[in-house]
């Protein structure tokens, strides 16, 4: 019987070969992820469940990233609860500032994601695992607590929609734009309850960093999860992480596909999502005059080496405009160090950028760059809901790192090519 890739992966995790979309199954996840916001609530619920010892400490990953380094006493207590839980339950994979970073970038960096895995996380952007051909599902704290208590959890096997990319991209277009194009078309509920499976001849031109950017924001379409097929790029990544041989799990010909979307990359230009929804997408060239108070390059979708290199290329010999703050957040400690080695940090600081520690920070309006009333930010983050980064009247435009850096230099939202032409002139 023809199966989708999602049906196969769910089947393997519940000991069946015939799991079908729509069925409710009990499956055993390979990893369970919690952070300093969802962890503390999960630990309280575990207590209420009467659980003293969790089933599988080796599967748990605890990352202090949202409020890290702590901004006040309450957030410090949350971060400490991760440490305490790790010590009490024997959780080896526990990270904080200094050895960690933003959870969804950190997990694959540490080799804690394998193609074919089923990963649940107390954070909606767990979908990022799809870049590595693993099923990542965002959930609340109680579900993760239940999985830690029982070793398994109920899932409704998702139906699959295919998103196919072909062709060659234009200049200054990145993975961010590919997923924004999809979001603009299908809307914030266009992927609800589904697995978004990516396919097409253009996938080979996407680095692992770009695949993470694409998969990360499938959450903004409401998708339950997503999958990129494992290919040579995936195999090279897996070899670097010493994960051993990997296999490609794809959908069979004739498998039940709910919807098939097709994109030619040549048609996509640099895009941005205007306030107050990530699906409110327009080409940067048509956004009009939008003055910018802050530029933020970082977060779990676009705080990778690829993004930092793009920013540095843009900022070389340039300056952040007067009255604009530009904050760059390398997603992990390791990325920060690599950026130093490549001279990127120096270029950014020379241009007037401030480098933040690896944290979720201002992306969700917590600390390290919160917006005041009516302030406007261009960010490489994934959400621009009302009040997301601060005051309810502040506004966030989502875009790729080229656009964000170019806008920091121009003081308003601009197409990166414009800044380059000025430079050449």
């Amino acid at each position: 019987m023809a199966s989708t890739a999602a049906e196969k992966i769910f089947g393997r995790h519940c000991g069946r070969t015939d799991a079908k979309a729509g069925e409710i199954v009990f499956a055993r996840p390979d990893r369970m992820l919690l952070n300093d916001i969802t962890g503390p609530l999960s630990f309280e619920l575990l207590k209420a469940m009467g659980v003293e010892r969790i089933r599988c400490p080796e599967k748990i990953v605890l990352v202090g990233d949202h409020f890290a380094p702590a901004k006040d006493i309450a957030s410090a207590e949350g971060l400490r609860s991760l440490e305490d839980f790790a010590a009490a339950q024997g959780v080896e994979h526990a990270y904080d500032v200094g050895n960690g970073g933003i959870e969804h970038t950190l997990m694959p960096e540490l080799g804690l994601v394998r193609p074919g895995d089923l990963i649940i996380g107390g954070d909606s952007h767990t979908s990022t695992c799809g870049a590595f051909s693993a099923i990542g599902i965002g959930m609340g704290s109680a579900d993760i607590a239940a999985a830690m208590a029982l070793g398994e959890l109920w899932f409704r096997v998702p139906e699959t929609m295919v998103v196919e990319f072909t062709g060659t991209r234009r200049s200054y277009v990145t993975g961010k734009d590919f997923i924004l194009a999809v979001l603009g078309d299908i809307g914030a509920n266009g992927g609800n309850y589904r697995c978004m499976e990516f396919s097409g001849s253009a996938l080979g031109s996407l680095s692992m960093d770009e695949r993470m950017a694409v998969c990360n924001m499938t959450a903004e379409a409401g998708a339950k999860t997503c999958l990129m097929p494992a290919d040579e790029t995936t195999a090279a990544w897996a070899a670097e992480k010493k994960l051993g041989p990997i296999e490609t799990i794809g959908s069979d010909p004739g498998a039940n596909i709910a919807e098939h979307l097709r994109y030619s990359l040549a048609d996509i230009e640099p895009l941005c999502a205007k306030p107050f929804m990530p699906d409110n997408v327009v080409p940067v060239s048509q956004v009009g005059t939008v003055k910018v108070d802050q530029v933020y390059i970082g977060n779990c979708s676009n705080g990778t080496m690829t993004d930092l290199r793009q920013a540095a290329e843009m900022f070389k010999g340039q300056r952040v405009a007067r009255n604009v703050r530009c904050i760059v957040v390398p997603a992990t400690q390791k990325i920060h160090r690599q950026a130093m080695r490549e001279g990127i940090i120096d270029i950014l600081i020379e241009a007037g950028v401030v480098i933040s520690p690896s944290t979720c920070g201002a992306c969700s309006g917590l600390h390290m760059g919160v917006l005041a009333g009516d302030q406007v930010a261009v960010t490489t983050t994934n959400r621009n809901y009302r009040g997301r980064m601060g005051a309810p009247s502040s506004k966030v435009y989502l875009a790729n790192a080229w656009v964000a850096a170019a806008s920091a230099i121009a003081g308003e939202i601009v197409h990166p090519a414009g800044v380059r032409q000025t430079e050449a002139a």
Binding site: I37, D143, N189
Partner: protein, 176 residues
């Protein structure tokens, strides 16, 4: 489960950042979270809500962040049930896990007006408002059992107790 209250009406895509901004997530206290519920769009929310009021909204209610605190905030503010055209999947699980009844019923959600009395019967799958009765989407049977038990905490407790009994029985069998 029957929920009765006054309609508090909102639009499409009420996201969890709006339900409870992330800056309050260092707390897990329902009353505190309830004080700040819907703050970015409706600062007077808490003062208007009477315990048992029913939130009625459009498409994709609860989209965005996985924060279960959104359910705690709604409950802390006094919301007894949410009726919407549709729900985002993480919010759907979080609500049921925390014992907050939610019902997808687009016809009722469109018809209901702010301030009207509304009655939701989750077992029968009906929503009554403005003199009309609407059929709501029914939960899958598995989830219905789950909700009747009061959410995920009692469900896990019961599963663990069963497992313990079975182990004890196996041990007795082995000793014979």
């Amino acid at each position: 489960m029957i929920a009765q209250g006054i309609v508090r009406k909102y639009g499409d895509a009420v996201d969890t950042d709006v339900i409870i901004p992330a800056r309050y997530l260092t707390s897990r206290n329902r009353a505190f979270l309830g004080e700040h519920c819907m703050e970015p769009v409706d600062p007077a929310f808490k003062s208007r809500i009477k315990p048992g009021d029913i939130m009625v909204a459009g498409e994709n209610f609860g989209c965005g962040s996985s924060r279960e605190h959104a359910v705690l905030a709604l409950r802390g503010a006094g919301i007894g049930c949410v009726v919407a055209n549709s729900f985002s999947r993480i919010f759907f699980r979080n609500a049921l896990n925390q014992g907050l009844p939610i019902v997808a019923c687009p016809d009722a959600a469109k018809f209901a007006q702010e301030g009207q009395p509304i009655r939701v019967d989750t077992a029968r799958g009906t929503v009554e408002v403005g003199g009309k009765s609407f059929a709501a989407e029914k939960w899958p049977e598995f989830l219905n059992d789950f909700i009747t038990q009061g959410g995920i905490v009692p469900y896990v407790r019961a599963r663990l107790a069963e497992e313990k009994q079975r182990l004890a029985a196996d041990n007795r069998e082995n000793l014979r």
